[in-house]
Amino acid sequence: MENLTYRHKAKTRAPGDKPLALVGVVASGNLEVLVERVLPDTDCEVAIATTAKGFGDVWAAVVSDFVERRSPGGLRLSINDGGARPDTVALRLSQAVRSLEEGR
């Protein structure tokens, strides 16, 4: 396993009122993302535990692209990864942030 953590400044607070959400599942080629609204509105943290070692550069690129696109201010995203491809990771990150917006 490899543990990676990335901290970014976000332009705006992530929309929605929910305090947390969970998307995805830990399986081969898949991942789960637990998103919690626990940080100051300008901060974002992505903590990853992955089975695929040595892909730190790819994770860094996917995470910074995500922060740029979704501006997830105030969020801590915790990932358990079963070796998902970068496109799957990007979709799950977006899904996690959107889940905080959805009403019941």
Binding site: M1, K18, P19, L20, A21, L22, V23, G24, V25, V26, A27, N30, E32, L34, E36, A49, T50, T51, S78, N80, D81, G82, Q95, S99, E102, R104
Partner: protein, 312 residues
């Protein structure tokens, strides 16, 4: 923790959602009355497996088990759901402890039914001893809860079926609802073939596997009390119906069950194939059973299925 959304699919809609395709969280949310679910020991508490790290394997924040309370048709229920896509829904230490705790709470409450949404291949091999202990603790907790007056329903229709220790726990439940995809057993097809040879059971023969371990066979021999089409609504209807009709656990329940099992063995023990059992059971065209649509099959089962005497 009603904030936790399911993974994978859209939030909207309910009735027609496939049970087989749904995640554990989605099944719980759509099965219970809308918005009624409160999770215990949710993923944000990060009660993950203490063993998987040793094997350099990834953890899941809920260890593949969702437990909590809600309402079904207005009545309070406790519910547990296994995530069959995480390690085949297998029982590990934390995964099992969450279900044990829920069942003990039910025992102490004495009147709140428990729904167990099985989706498991059995014990998680990496946590062998802890997993086996968990199975034993859960079986005891099921029986204690039933003895205290609690109805414990098992719903089986997930991709991992209900095998190994999960099959044993299912056998301890007050009643079971199963879909065609919801296979129930202890040893899976590959295990039987490995141990007894291909002549005993050919695990590559999919029609054979499905008609032996699948939900239709379980329903026809009385191992499952209700058959559900593969939708959340169908399982919800089955659960409501079984909660209404399932009786308490008494000494007579066990005596009736023992008599039923002896009679089943006497009558069908020599059958080489599930189709032979169905034919003896009174099904006119046993070969057509696997292809029957759910509604037709439910009608057929209503005519010929063995009474379950409230036990497996």
């Amino acid at each position: 923790m009603s904030d936790l959304t399911p993974g994978g699919t859209s939030e909207s809609g309910r009735g027609g959602v496939s049970w087989y395709e749904a995640s554990a969280r989605q099944r719980v949310r759509l099965l219970l009355d809308a918005g009624s679910f409160t999770e215990f020991v949710g993923p944000e508490q990060r009660e993950t497996s203490p063993h998987l790290q040793v094997f350099d394997l990834p953890e899941q924040f809920d260890d593949g088990m969702v437990v909590g309370a809600g309402t079904l048709g207005g009545g309070a229920v406790l519910v547990a759901a296994q995530e069959g896509r995480f390690m085949g829904g297998a029982f590990g230490e934390v995964h099992g402890a969450k279900l044990t705790g829920l069942l003990r709470a039910a025992r102490d409450l004495t009147s709140t039914p428990v729904l167990i949404l099985f989706d498991t291949g059995g014990v998680r091999l990496q946590e062998a001893n802890a997993g086996e202990l968990a199975i034993a603790e859960i079986m005891r907790a099921v029986v204690e809860a039933r003895h205290a007056g609690v109805t414990v329903l098992g719903l089986v229709g997930g991709r991992s079926g209900c095998f190994g220790g999960g099959g044993l726990i299912a056998g301890c439940c007050s009643a079971l609802a199963v879909s065609e995809q919801g296979r129930i057993g202890v040893s899976g097809p590959e295990v039987i073939e490995t141990n007894r040879g291909v002549e005993e059971f050919d695990s590559k023969d999919r029609p054979l596997v499905w008609r032996t371990t699948g939900g239709k066979h379980r329903r026809l021999i009385g191992g499952a009390d209700a058959f559900a089409d593969d939708t959340v609504d169908a399982f919800r209807a089955c659960a409501l119906d079984l909660l209404r009709t399932t009786g308490p656990l008494t000494l007579d329940t066990l005596r009736n069950e023992q008599a039923r099992l002896r009679e089943r063995l006497d009558r069908f023990g020599a059958c080489a194939d599930a189709r032979d059992v169905w034919a003896k059971r009174g099904v006119d065209d046993a070969g057509a059973v696997p292809g029957l649509p759910a509604d037709d099959f439910i009608a057929l089962a209503g005519r010929v299925a063995e009474p379950s005497h409230d036990a497996r």
